[in-house]
Each structure stands twice: as structure tokens, then as C-alpha cells.
């Protein structure tokens, strides 16, 4: 089975309580760091209007889309009400030697 863990960015490059965009070929991801240095990854585009979430606002465990203020819990992908109705896909992460790795295969 192919290794689906992808080396993305320096973990420290993501500011606390913020989000960073990471592109891989045709795919795009949003990488998150919480205030207590936990890391998460989701699909990079809002499920409502295909806007890059990396331009959005992170508050606690919520990412707010920059275009229409749709809100997702980025730890679970749960859409938190209009105008977003479809959950985000999430991906496992790990930090090794200061690098953030994302397992892009088993999207939840």
C-alpha cells in the first residue's frame, strides 16, 4: 500500500490559532494550529462556494470562511450552520522533527 503521509510545512510556520494553505498538485488543503499546538488538516476549499479557507478566521476550533462566514469545526469537519451545509473532509496529522505531515488518503 502506498505511503499516503505527505510532508507539508514546518509546523512552526503556522501561527497559533491560524490556518495555512497547502497545495499538492490539483488538491488543496487547509492546515491548522490551535493555541495549544495541536495540528489539524482539512480540505482547503469551503464546501459551500469553493473558497480557500486559508483566508479565513480561526477562533478556538472553528474556521470561518472568508467569503460568506460559513463556519466549520476543523477538528471534526462539522459544518456549523448556514450557509454551510456539507461537512469538510478532515485528515490525520502528525509532527515529526518539526515538520507537519498529513495523511491524505483516509479522508473522514
Amino acid at each position: 500500500m502506498a505511503d499516503t503521509w505527505i510532508d507539508t510545512v514546518n509546523a512552526a510556520d503556522i501561527a497559533r490559532e491560524d490556518v495555512l494553505r497547502f497545495d499538492l498538485g490539483e488538491r488543496t488543503f487547509a492546515l491548522y494550529r490551535t493555541t495549544d499546538d495541536r495540528y489539524y488538516a482539512t480540505d482547503g476549499l469551503c464546501t459551500h462556494a469553493k473558497v480557500h479557507l486559508a483566508g479565513g478566521f480561526v477562533l478556538d476550533q472553528v474556521i470561518e470562511c472568508p467569503k460568506h462566514n460559513g463556519r466549520f469545526n476543523f477538528t471534526t469537519g462539522q459544518a456549523m450552520g448556514a450557509p454551510v451545509c456539507v461537512n469538510l473532509k478532515t485528515y490525520p496529522t502528525k509532527v515529526e522533527a518539526g515538520r507537519l505531515w498529513v495523511n491524505i488518503a483516509p479522508a473522514a
Partner: protein
């Protein structure tokens, strides 16, 4: 012989809808000014304090003017307090509706949602359809055939604008839609932007609105007085004039079918009283470009972006000195519009860089 071009079809279900899609104007990428991510993050921070303060003051003003209106009811003196009450109810509810729709007024989500429901009722906009309508307005701002909130289609309908001073155009339309929703139906346009999952909420809320209006009317009949309707219902009409005065500055007379908010929105400087009444929506270019920034930070955002913006309008009068002649000219020449002068720093569309950190 030259003939005037046919007016464009502003409906969401006509040929302009397909045309916008074919021209790449639907769900498109829009120009954004450069701002360091760290600064934008500061400006996007949510706070409860400013909106609690401003909302409590709004409620206090409503209670004071409404009480004086009741106490002076039956005399000519009642006109003054009800003029103030009407504006606070029928016009200020517009900006409260707008900011809480974006859920940026408060940090606490339920406070945004509570204010949104209240303000929706006051401004006579059903909360669920208008949330989706406004979402589309932000996706496709002033894109003909896509934006359901184009206030002044060309050529301008001057009678309609005059009626809108007292919501006599939009008000009856809203009641017709509400009646449709009460019976579990949507208009064809609404069906293009309200998802199936949201439609039961539309019908439920319409029935709640109807029940409230019926209760107020029953109270008026029982007391044989218009006073209950002067407090709830009528202010959405007699107090709506400032909503129109503010609202027309946002987009009227500016370009259609462009992917740059600097060309189809206005930023108008206003004094602190007007900015309070309007909850800083005078910074309208900034709001459309970065809708995550709360109203109380829009002035700061303006300072960050203004070097890459057209020159703002120095007051309502300055804006209307442009809007009125433009609309008059559009009556004869619907293709005419104001062409905002962009600074030389403007980048090409589609070249939005990743913001610096």
C-alpha cells in the same frame, strides 16, 4: 435609426444568469487588496463588548422614544418621538440585521443569531431567505442575473425608489413572499439559492411572522387604536427612509459585472452619529472585500487598505452628488455608470497573491 438597447433582465432565472456563467462572472475570484495576514487576523478578532454596548443603547433609544410616543399619543407632539422611533426601528435594524447575519457583530454566536432574528423581523426581511440572498450578494456582487440584491436596476425605476422611502415597494413584495412561504412555497428566484434543507425553516419562520402580525392587529382592533401598529409593524414602513438613504450609497450607479469591489461599492466618510446608526457600513468596499472583519474594526481596515482604493466620498452629500445625476442619465442611457478611478498600485484581476504574514 438608432434604438435604445432593451433593458437587461435582472431576474435570477432569465438569460442573464446563463450569460454571467458563460462570461466567468459567477462564483468568480475577486480582487483583494494586500494586507499582511497578521494585521488582518488582528482586525478579524471578535469581541462582544462593542456590540453589547451599541445594542443596549439601541434598545434604550427604542424604549425611550417609543414610551414618549405612547405618552404623547393623541397629540401632535407624538410625531417627533415616533419619527425617531421609526428610524431606529425601520432603518437602524437594517445594519444590525446585516452585521449579525455575517455573525461578526458579537463574538458569542447566539447573540448574533438572536439579534439577526429580531432585526430581520423589524426590517421586514424573513431571516432564512434573506440569509441566502445576502450570501449570493457576496458571491456575485452586482452581477446581473446572479445578485438578488441589486437595489437600482437600469434604467432606474424612480417611482419605485420614491416608494422605497417608506418601503412601499419592497414591503408589499415581502408580504407577498411571506404569504407564499406560509403555504410552503418559494418564488422561482429563491429556489435558485435556498437549499432544500433550509426550506422548512423558511416556512416555519413565515408562519411565526404572520402570527406576530396577526397578534398586533388583534391588539389594535381590541384597543380600537393604531398605537400597537405604530410600535410594531408600521415602523418598518414609516421609518425606512434612512435605510434607503444609506443603502443607495452602497452600489447605486456603479459598474455592473465587474470582479472588483472597488468598482462596484462605495466607501463614504460619515460622522460618528451616522456611523453608529449605520454600524460602519459606510466602509462598504472594505466590508465586501473582507467580510470577516467586524463593523467596529472597519475604520481600521480602511486605513490599511486606502492606498489601494479609490478616493472615498467625503460624506453623504458627496455621494449623492454623484448618484443622482448618474441615475438620471441611466434613465436615458442604461449602459452609463460611474467609473471609479483606481490607484496605480492596482494589480490585475486574477493575480491575487497569497497575503504576506
Amino acid at each position: 435609426m438608432l434604438t435604445a438597447p432593451a433593458p437587461r433582465d435582472y431576474s435570477l432565472t432569465g438569460p442573464e444568469n446563463q450569460r454571467a456563467g458563460a462570461r466567468g462572472l459567477a462564483d468568480a475570484e475577486w480582487y483583494t487588496c494586500m494586507i499582511p495576514r497578521s494585521r488582518l487576523k488582528e482586525l478579524m478578532q471578535r469581541r462582544d463588548g462593542p456590540a453589547i454596548r451599541d445594542t443596549l443603547l439601541w434598545f434604550a433609544l427604542l424604549i425611550i422614544t417609543g414610551t414618549i410616543g405612547c405618552l404623547t399619543w393623541g397629540t401632535w407632539w407624538t410625531i417627533l418621538p415616533f419619527m425617531a422611533y421609526g428610524v431606529l426601528y425601520g432603518s437602524c435594524s437594517d445594519s444590525r440585521w446585516h452585521e449579525s447575519l455575517h455573525r461578526t457583530a458579537f463574538k458569542t454566536v447566539w447573540m448574533n443569531d438572536a439579534l439577526y432574528e429580531l432585526a430581520s423581523f423589524m426590517v421586514l426581511r424573513e431571516s432564512v431567505p434573506w440569509r441566502w440572498s445576502h450570501t449570493r450578494h457576496h458571491t456575485d456582487t452586482i452581477i446581473v442575473g446572479r445578485d438578488p440584491e441589486i437595489a437600482v436596476p437600469r434604467p432606474p425605476d424612480f417611482l419605485g425608489l420614491a416608494l422605497s422611502l417608506f418601503s412601499l415597494k419592497s414591503g408589499p413584495r415581502e408580504f407577498r413572499r411571506m404569504a407564499l412561504h406560509v403555504f410552503g412555497r418559494l418564488t422561482p428566484g429563491e429556489a435558485t439559492y435556498i437549499p432544500e434543507t433550509e426550506r422548512p425553516k423558511v416556512y416555519r419562520n413565515a408562519r411565526i411572522y404572520l402570527a406576530i402580525y396577526l397578534a398586533v392587529i388583534a391588539t389594535a382592533v381590541a384597543t380600537r387604536s393604531f398605537l400597537p401598529l405604530m410600535l410594531v409593524g408600521f415602523p418598518s414602513f414609516y421609518g425606512a427612509w434612512l435605510l434607503l438613504v444609506f443603502g443607495l450609497t452602497q452600489h447605486a450607479g456603479l459598474a455592473e459585472d465587474v470582479l472588483d469591489h472597488r468598482l462596484n461599492c462605495r466607501t463614504v466618510y460619515m460622522n460618528p452619529v451616522l456611523r453608529y446608526l449605520y454600524w460602519e457600513m459606510n466602509y462598504h468596499v472594505e466590508h465586501h472585500m473582507f467580510p470577516l472583519v467586524p463593523y467596529h474594526a472597519l475604520g481600521h481596515l480602511h486605513q490599511e487598505l486606502k492606498a489601494d482604493m479609490p478616493v472615498p466620498y467625503d460624506g453623504l452629500w458627496a455621494a449623492y452628488r454623484e448618484i443622482i445625476p448618474t441615475l438620471l442619465r441611466q434613465a436615458k442611457d442604461p449602459a452609463y455608470h460611474v467609473q471609479r478611478r483606481l490607484p496605480a498600485s492596482a494589480r490585475a484581476l486574477g493575480s491575487n497573491p497569497q497575503p504576506a504574514t
